[in-house]
């Protein structure tokens, strides 16, 4: 996989079958959050996020604010799907989350990080809020 592959969970690397399953689910949008939001997420983000506000989808380079693909922050917290209802709920947790896409399909970008550990912590936090969040690597 050229410049896009799951890092979440080394399971992907260790167990090709798991990768195939995730990829297939992603492609057909059958993951839990792709269509409807779990009831638990309706009260999303009652808990404080980890990392003391360092979740971000933008960086400042001089006078320019960079949005979208941030090569220096390659670990991306992603929520598969593109449903507007999910995006609205996710934005209660991460205000600048947005819809984007990869070869495996559309997803909601919920944060970019320089370290896998930070990304994983945020993904876990979002999962605790009801989102099917995982970490992908996009150098």
């Amino acid at each position: 996989m050229a410049n896009f592959f799951w890092i979440e969970l080394a399971t992907v690397l260790w167990r090709p079958a798991a990768l195939a399953a995730v990829a297939a689910a992603f492609a057909v949008g059958s993951l839990t959050v792709a269509g409807t939001l779990p009831a638990s997420a309706q009260a999303a983000c009652g808990d404080a996020p980890p990392l003391d506000g360092s979740i971000q989808n933008s960086v400042v380079e001089g006078d320019v604010i960079v949005l979208g693909s941030l090569s220096e922050r390659p670990y991306v917290v992603a929520v598969p799907g593109e449903a507007e209802t999910v995006l609205e709920a996710l934005r209660l947790c991460v205000g600048d989350a947005f819809v984007t896409s990869a070869r495996l399909g559309p997803f909601l970008q919920a944060g970019t990080f320089t370290s896998h550990a930070d990304a994983k912590a945020v993904a876990q936090w979002l999962r605790s809020q009801g989102f099917d969040a995982r970490v992908i690597y996009r150098p």
Binding site: N57, E61, D63, V64, I65, V66, L67, G68, S69, L70, L87, D96, F98, V99, T100, S101, A102, P106, Q109, R138
Partner: protein, 297 residues
Amino acid sequence: MKNRAVRKTKLARFGPAILSLQLGRRAVLALGGLGLAAWAERVIAQTLPVRVDRWLEVRSLAGTVQFTRQSSAQPARVGYRLQSVGEGLRTGHQSQAVLALDTEVGFVSLASNTDLRIENLSATASGGRITYLRILRGQARLQTRPFTNPDTRLDVETPAGVASIRGTVYGLTVQPDGRTGIATLEGVVVATGAGQSVTLNPDFQTLIVPGQAPTPPSPITNDVSLDLRSLRVVGGNQVELVGRVDPLNILMIDDQVQTLERTGQFRLQLPLPADRQFIAIVTTPLGNQQIYALRVP
């Protein structure tokens, strides 16, 4: 070059609603009602236009700035004077210009991709200076000192309405569809659209949609943020760009001014650039700008 006032023509074109602005707020309040327009016409008919030298002088330039007259255009230079009806200035991409009003009463700063044209430069018998400018697109910021002559006025017309001032600092944006955002920093601006006016006190703003009355004044935002909701490749070589900016702002993406919905939302589908990046510039009515690099994942 002498300039002949054309107030009668302006009367015919813009009608009593704008005339009422020329009389000042106290007169309007004192008179009110349906008799105002007729009274205004009588008063103005008694005020004979006079010949007088009037101009806007180019004080500074950056980038590509054209001096326009009718359908012709030529590069502008510092020191050029715009003196006749129909003459104007057009700024290009990443360009700007500053014009000084004669008598140093004020300055007009034009941001990039802005068209300004003179509609009227004249004087009243009482010594008042009438300046009527038209901005077809872009962003301008005006800064004037308080007018000492009550007949002096400076009006800026856009496709959506008119902003009238009496000594102030304010700015405006003109969208491709004519929608006009006006924000006041100092002094008072009267914004008129569809025959209705609102008064903008310092730190207030309004939006005029062509054919509609100005929105009620609201506290100034001067917000340059860009709320991105979607940035993704669709159909192989197209990019879906969805987001929102303050509806009073101008959004330019790769040198093209984009038409916003009334809420400030935009939904675009653009060819995927070779470098997978768009440059977006958000400009407020007061001229504040923020540059964004939108890098397509």
